[in-house]
Each structure stands twice: as structure tokens, then as C-alpha cells.
Symmetry: C2
Subunit: 312 residues, 2 copies
């Protein structure tokens, strides 16, 4: 099979042996695979794939058709439309995944949005509800509102009855972000728009101090990205005074059972909202597998709304 | 009435008008009132009492007899033995408290331990169970294990089936702390004794980095004291990698309903363990009200096991 491959911090297309599904696994013929910040870091050698995943083929999410089922796998049949997150290897013609991390693709959802759905909606849903315990009527601040996770978090917050504000660095994207259901504001001086009950942090250390300032009593900060820096000063007395908490989270390193549980949450609580039309996956641009290097350049350039997806 | 009074950062005994119970309140003739770190800070002008509490009479916890009941108060009758936390004013002959923050004193519990029970056991119970969600079999690290909150947290952790380790700065106190049910270790190099699932932090900023290092995946740090400093550097990438969370908490600033709820938790989940003998309040030393200044000096000197209490 052909696959996007990391060679000397560049993305090239190479031939690899076809993977074979192990016990409980499914072989998926990939139709679309989204790009994520973690792929960018992996390309630069900063974020190796977890053990058991291909080390040189990036891609943590995909949608496609079941091509074969391994021993003991019984959730899907050959030809079923599936999507899900994997530890790596999704930006390829074929990939294996444990059947319990896969979900059926909702009727009416095209391949490109389906391939860009799992990682960002699982990440946002887990952060907002499983971790921060976001409740209807609460005020949510989403940092990086134009990105993949940001656009997912805004829609999920809005659909749950939260009041959503989102920082958007590029002024030209604010109108599109607002159309997703958020008050779109500049990143500079965001605390003036608070206080907030929950803050989803995708930027990192530079925001931490102002996040704490912008938080209401009992508020929660969930840190799921540190692209702009990891080390920050924290005032623990302010944290105490606000009776606040700070969560750190990442999906990729979690064991199979936690990823499977997150997939069940998504099936039950989120996927029906794609069928009803309440949620959508904004796809900024789709690239063919042969153009994978260009897809990475597009992601790195920023200034997009939503997902960059590779279609196969 | 006579009361310990803050004058120019010193504790003196002065006459004050007798307080009168408002609607839903109870007037308590104080028999014992514990000292806490917050009293020390208040004496130095660093931690003013919340609005509605006496500003110049310290004391956040007490045990005593009901002397009168205000309009609409129906939980207690004159003569009942009660204890509880208040916003301030407890180190006095009389104090008023809302009836819903008061609890009955368990049979067989003397005044001195009862007067030193509410603040530290409420603080420790709230931090360990309501916030950190400590579960049976988990590994708990208590910093400052010889102090009031520390001795409460060790016993509560042990009674819940957790495996408890406690840092104790003074070597001569380690045996007594171990007798409460913890492995007592020096504060230096505590991370080598980990990993831990829950860390109760009473010391503050200097421990934060090593706390994060000592935490297991999915671990929780609860910061309830910053006596040794409030500002620390935090590595958010490490927080993400461990999928950890950091809680800040303080009891004093909470609204009545939250304090009342915490009292109900204590009545149901903790006070029966005093009757059964599983829990006790280690009282390091008791001072008469007239000796309140000496009690503060004793507290500030450190090196005690458990509570300093003023008896009236």
C-alpha cells in the first residue's frame, strides 16, 4: 500500500507492506484522514507514535470502508463505513484499528468530514464534559476557536446549552467562527470578556495567567495543547481563592479501554447531532494522498477554519 | 463577653458586646476553639475575615453549648453540644453560627478535641473525597503530615482504604505520625517514594514541580495551603502527559450552602468514625482563653503534632 511517510522531517509517499488485522482488529480501506497538531509535532521528531503504531506513517484519525476483519472482531462487516482514532498510521491506503475504537459513520456524512471528525470531536467532548463537567448555562471560553478542536468545542458547547466565547487570532475568520455559535473575540485581552466557568486551552503557557484571571469561582481550565509553550508561572493562591482546577489531557497515550469508552460516549452523545444537522465538520481544504506534503504545509501555515483532510 | 482580639498584629483579651443570634442562627457558649493557619495569617493582616464575620476576633471553628436560638432555628435546643466552622469570631466566650453549619458533638468526644475537629476534618474530607475523588486502594501523599489538616487527612485516607504516605519535616514527630496510619517520610526527596494517585498540598509552591513528578497517570493534586509560597512554575506538557489535574481550594470563602453541605457530609461520613474510635483529634496543647497570645506563639513555633486549642 501507499502511505504518507516521515523521512528526514519531510512527508513523502512510499510503498509499505499491507497491514493485517490482529485479534479483535479491523482492516480499513481509508477514504479520508484528518491532520492534527500532533502530526505536525511528529513530523518534526517531537512526538513519537505510541508503541504498536507505525512509527513512520502519521495520521491519528480516519474514515473508510472495512476491508477485512481479524479473529474475534464482530462489531463490523466488510464494506461497513467506519471512522475512529488510532495511535498512528491513518494517512495511508490501509490501516488496522481495534474494532472497539471504531464508530459507524452517520448516514449522510461525506468521507472528508468523517475523516476529520474523530480526533477533534473526541478531544473536545472528553475535555468539556468528561473532564471539565461543563453544564448547561455555563460560560465557556474556547481558545483557538478557528482550529479543528476549536470548531468542534464551540459547536458542542453551544449544543449543550453553554454560552460560548472563542478567541480567534485572525480577524478575517471571526465571522465564520461566530456562525458556529460563539462570540468571536481577539486573543488579546480576552479576560475582559469573562468571567468564564470553563476554559479550553489549546495555545499553552502564555495564556495561563490570564486564564486564571478570567475564571469565575469554581471554574475549570482544561489544557489540551501547548503549541505556544509548556512552562508557565502559576499563582496557587489565586487557584485556591477561586476554588478552581486545571486539567491536563491528551488522547493519544491513553490505553485501548479509555479510547473505546470515549468512542462509546461519542456514538451516544455526539453522532446523533450530525444526523440532525446540529453539528458539522468544517473542512478547510482536502488534499489527495499524493499531495500530503502540501496538506502539511497548508496546516502549518495556519489561517484556516476547521480541518485539513487527506483523501485517498 | 471576653474574646481574643487582634490589635496591632497582637492577640489581646478584650470585652465585646454579646452577639445575638439572627434568623436561623444559634448562639453558642464556646467551650473550645481550635487555631488554624488562617488565624495566623489574619493576625498578620493578610487574610481578613469574610463580610458578616467579626473582623477583629479570630477563630474559625468551635465546640460549645447552645445558649440561645434565633428566629426560625430548629435544629438544636438550648444546652445541646454543638460544633462547626464559622467565618470568624470563635475564639470568644460567645459566638453566633447558622444552625445548618453546626453539627452535634459525638458522644464521648471531649470539648478540646471537638473544638479542634471541624476545620481540619472538613478541609481534609472535602479535599480528598469531594474534590480529588480518592478511591480505596489509591496511594495518597499528605504533605505536612504532623499538622492539623495532615493528621486528619492521614486518618481519613487510612479509614477509606487508601495507602497513605506523609511528609514530616521534624524527625522527632515521625513515629507519632506513623501511628496514625501513614508511612512517615522526610520532606526532602519525597518523589522517590511515589508514584501517588492523590497529593494533598499544604506547603505550597516549592513542592509543585516535585509533586507533578511524583504523580501517577490520572493523578490529582489538591492545593489547600501555600504557607511556603504561592507562585510556582508549572510544566503544562507534563500535566497533559499524566492526564493530571490540580485543584485549588479554601473553605472560608464559601457561601453558607456549601459549608452546610460539607457539614452534612461530615455528619454522615466522618463523625460515626469518632464514635467507633477509628478517628481521633490529636490535641498538641490546650490554652485557656486568657492565654490566647501564648497559644498563637505555640502554633507559630511549629513542631507540634495535631491541634492547638483554646478552651473557654
Amino acid at each position: 500500500m501507499r502511505a504518507a511517510t516521515i523521512r528526514d522531517r519531510e512527508i513523502v509517499i512510499e510503498e509499505h507492506p499491507d497491514p493485517t488485522p490482529g485479534s479483535g482488529e479491523v482492516l480499513v480501506r481509508v477514504h479520508a484522514a484528518g491532520l492534527n497538531g500532533a502530526d505536525m509535532m511528529q513530523r518534526r521528531g517531537l512526538y513519537p507514535a505510541p508503541p504498536g503504531s507505525p512509527q513512520d506513517i502519521p495520521g491519528m484519525e480516519l474514515a473508510g470502508e472495512v476491508a477485512a476483519v481479524g479473529e474475534g472482531a464482530e462489531r463490523f462487516q466488510v464494506g461497513d463505513r467506519v471512522m475512529g482514532i488510532v495511535g498512528g498510521g491513518a494517512q495511508a491506503e490501509l490501516v488496522t484499528a481495534h474494532e472497539r475504537v471504531l464508530m459507524g459513520v452517520p448516514d449522510g456524512l461525506d468521507w472528508a468530514p468523517a475523516g476529520g471528525l474523530p480526533e477533534v470531536f473526541t478531544t473536545a467532548h472528553d475535555a468539556l464534559f468528561t473532564q471539565a463537567g461543563l453544564r448547561p448555562g455555563e460560560r465557556l471560553l474556547v481558545h483557538g476557536g478557528a482550529g479543528g478542536v476549536g470548531t468542534a468545542a464551540i459547536q458542542l458547547g453551544r449544543a449543550s446549552g453553554a454560552r460560548v466565547t472563542a478567541t480567534v487570532h485572525r480577524e478575517e475568520l471571526r465571522e465564520q467562527v461566530a456562525a458556529l455559535g460563539a462570540e468571536a473575540i481577539p486573543a488579546e485581552g480576552f479576560a475582559a470578556h469573562g468571567p468564564f466557568d470553563v476554559i479550553l486551552e489549546l495555545v499553552g503557557a502564555p495564556n495561563l495567567s490570564e486564564n486564571l484571571q478570567a475564571l469565575d469561582t469554581g471554574g475549570r481550565i482544561v489544557v489540551i495543547g501547548v503549541g505556544a509553550g509548556a512552562k508557565a508561572e502559576i499563582n496557587l493562591l489565586a487557584l485556591m481563592g477561586k476554588r478552581a482546577r486545571i486539567h491536563g489531557s491528551t488522547l493519544r497515550a491513553r490505553p485501548l479501554e479509555e479510547k473505546a469508552l470515549a468512542a462509546r460516549h461519542l456514538e451516544r452523545e455526539v453522532l446523533p447531532l450530525f444526523v440532525s444537522g446540529d453539528l458539522r465538520v468544517p473542512v478547510a481544504e482536502a488534499f489527495a494522498l499524493e499531495e500530503a506534503a502540501a496538506a502539511y504545509e497548508r496546516f502549518a501555515a495556519g489561517g484556516k477554519l476547521g480541518k485539513i483532510v487527506i483523501t485517498v
